[in-house]
């Protein structure tokens, strides 16, 4: 059990706990930001200015009764939230969140702040994102209720439609960075042009960034693309029949997917952990700040924009976003060929 192996185990545990707590933090942030946007107070009773609200929510969900519809398929009904939550956690396994560090010389060699160092990491993120579909469609099917089924099928159709644009926007960044490993793509964005414009990929691939953000929001079923699970439309869609901890797992999966999409966007487009004033080893602070900004943007969009109707959503994904991402890829390829990389 070398110190490096122990450090990696501790890192894995740390990432797991951090994702769980980020989900709890997001619950609070969402409600507080929504309240401030709507000019009301939000949670303020539980703890100082409502900071303990997530704990109250989790306790409430823990004490609720775990229901299952009588005609529901028991095995699939039980598995579906597990698949959702597992895929959400697993996608973060290949996302690096800081430069390699030796923890002030305690370790013999630098440890990458990434749970699994795979050299096709970008594709792994995409692969696990496409596993999210199963949790949703199985939840919709196994609940044996028409609202759940419709919500599940619509939601999964939406996710697989926007996956295409997601992947093609990724391809643009891969062309520029010339590597499939996320760490390489981040390190490609170090430094600055003219001394003050950071070399982030968002300046080279602005349309790709927009497509990636929009497809990411659609992938995580967040507003304005949350028609399949909106309360006003489909009685909460695919998770209508779930209660207590199973429902909590779907919620957890949604927030962790948001965090993962934000983290991947930061790594691929916004320079990852590189930033002006801090040294490399404290780069994770920049990473946190950028991811936090993107998460705030997510919440802001949800409580500002009206939601797309389902046919508008699908036609936008297929008729606007997909051709745009193909054109983006072609232009990027032409640019790489002409200007050289």
């Amino acid at each position: 059990m070398t110190p490096l192996l122990m450090a990696q185990l501790v890192l894995t545990l740390f990432v797991f706990v951090a994702l769980l707590s980020s989900s709890a933090v997001m619950v609070y942030v969402e409600r507080k930001v929504a309240a401030l946007l709507q000019q009301r107070f939000g949670p303020y009773l539980v703890g100082p200015s409502g900071l303990l609200q997530p704990f109250a929510d989790v306790l409430k969900l823990l004490f609720k009764e775990e229901l299952r519809p009588g005609a529901a398929d028991a095995i699939l009904f039980a598995i579906a939230p597990v698949i959702s939550a597992t895929a959400a956690f697993a996608a973060f396994a290949v996302v690096p969140f800081g430069a390699s560090t030796t923890f002030f010389g305690l370790l013999s060699e630098p440890l990458r702040l990434q749970v699994a160092d795979v050299n096709v990491a970008v594709l792994v993120i995409f692969a696990i994102a496409s596993m999210n579909v199963y949790g949703i469609v199985l939840a919709g099917w196994s609940s044996n209720s028409k609202y759940s089924l419709l919500g599940g099928l619509r939601s999964s159709a939406q996710m697989i439609s926007y996956e295409l644009s997601y992947g093609l926007a990724l391809a643009g960044v891969i062309l520029i960075g010339n590597s499939l490993s996320v760490t390489d793509l981040v390190n490609h964005q170090a430094g600055a042009w003219f001394g003050f414009i950071p070399r982030w990929s968002v300046f080279v691939q602005p349309i790709g960034f927009l497509i990636f953000m929009i497809a990411g929001i659609a992938e995580t079923n967040r507003a304005p693309f949350d028609f399949p699970e909106a309360e006003q439309e489909l009685v909460a869609g695919y998770h209508a029949e779930y209660s207590s901890m199973s429902f909590a797992m779907f919620f957890l999966a949604e927030y962790i997917n948001m965090v993962t999409v934000s983290a991947v966007t930061v790594d691929l487009f916004l320079g990852g952990w590189h930033g002006p004033f801090l040294p490399e080893s404290l780069g994770w602070i920049w990473f946190l700040a950028k991811t936090g900004a993107l998460l705030f943007f997510y919440v802001w969009m949800r409580w500002t924009l009206p939601r797309y109707r389902y046919d508008q959503l699908m036609s936008f994904g297929w008729k606007v976003l997909l051709p745009l991402s193909v054109i983006n890829l072609l232009v990027t390829a032409a640019g790489v060929l002409y200007f050289g990389v």
């Binding site: 699939l76 050299n119 096709v120 692969a127 596993m131 579909v133 199963y134 099917w141 099928l153």
Partner: protein, 182 residues
């Protein structure tokens, strides 16, 4: 040492899941078990130093083709097979042609194993693996460029064909009270 154990683990999962796929009565369980089998195969590809193929297997097979299967099974909603055989006996244990077919499948295994292992050479793996993703890409677009373009035409044909084949016939204008569209 660890990768040896992983080979046996992934191999056992792949075989067990595939056996369960053909043994399930409910097609949804079959689809989910096949996804498990694909996951195990993806692990085997990683052990064979082919990470790109492993990830493509998950993205294409487990993430797209199986979703297609799942949607069709849910659309058709016909979970049980009706046969002239006795319904209480499991489909794979029925008498007559089924048992003979099972015996033939075992014979097929024996034949394939015999045919595939009759090679000269030790059978151990070569030292270093050749391929990186950029090498695969380069070879794909130069040596196999024609096959690549033909494959893209094939996918277009399959898309158009699937849409045409699965489309409902347009309903005639004067619909009587008794009939739906079929």
């Amino acid at each position: 040492m660890g990768s040896d154990a992983l080979f046996y683990v992934f191999g056992a999962i792949a075989i067990a899941a595939s056996l369960l796929v053909i043994a399930q009565r409910n097609p949804i369980y079959s689809v989910l078990l096949l996804i498990t089998s694909f996951g195990a195969l993806s692990g085997l590809y990683v052990l064979l130093d082919a990470p790109f193929v492993a990830v493509i297997q998950i993205i294409v097979y487990a993430g797209a083709i199986m979703v297609l299967f799942l949607f069709v099974v849910m659309l058709l909603n016909a979970p049980h097979e009706e046969t002239p055989y006795d319904e209480r006996v499991h489909p794979l244990l029925r008498e007559g042609p089924t048992r003979f077919g099972g015996a033939l499948a075992l014979a097929l295994v024996a034949e394939l194993v015999w045919a595939l292992t009759r090679r000269s050479g030790s059978g151990a793996f070569a030292g270093a693996s050749a391929s990186s993703v950029s090498a695969i890409g380069r070879s794909l677009f130069t040596d196999y460029g024609l096959a690549f373009e033909v494959t893209s035409v094939l996918i277009l044909v399959a898309m158009v064909g699937a849409v045409v084949l699965a489309r409902r016939d347009p309903v005639s204008r004067d619909r009587t009270a008794a009939g739906g569209d079929r």
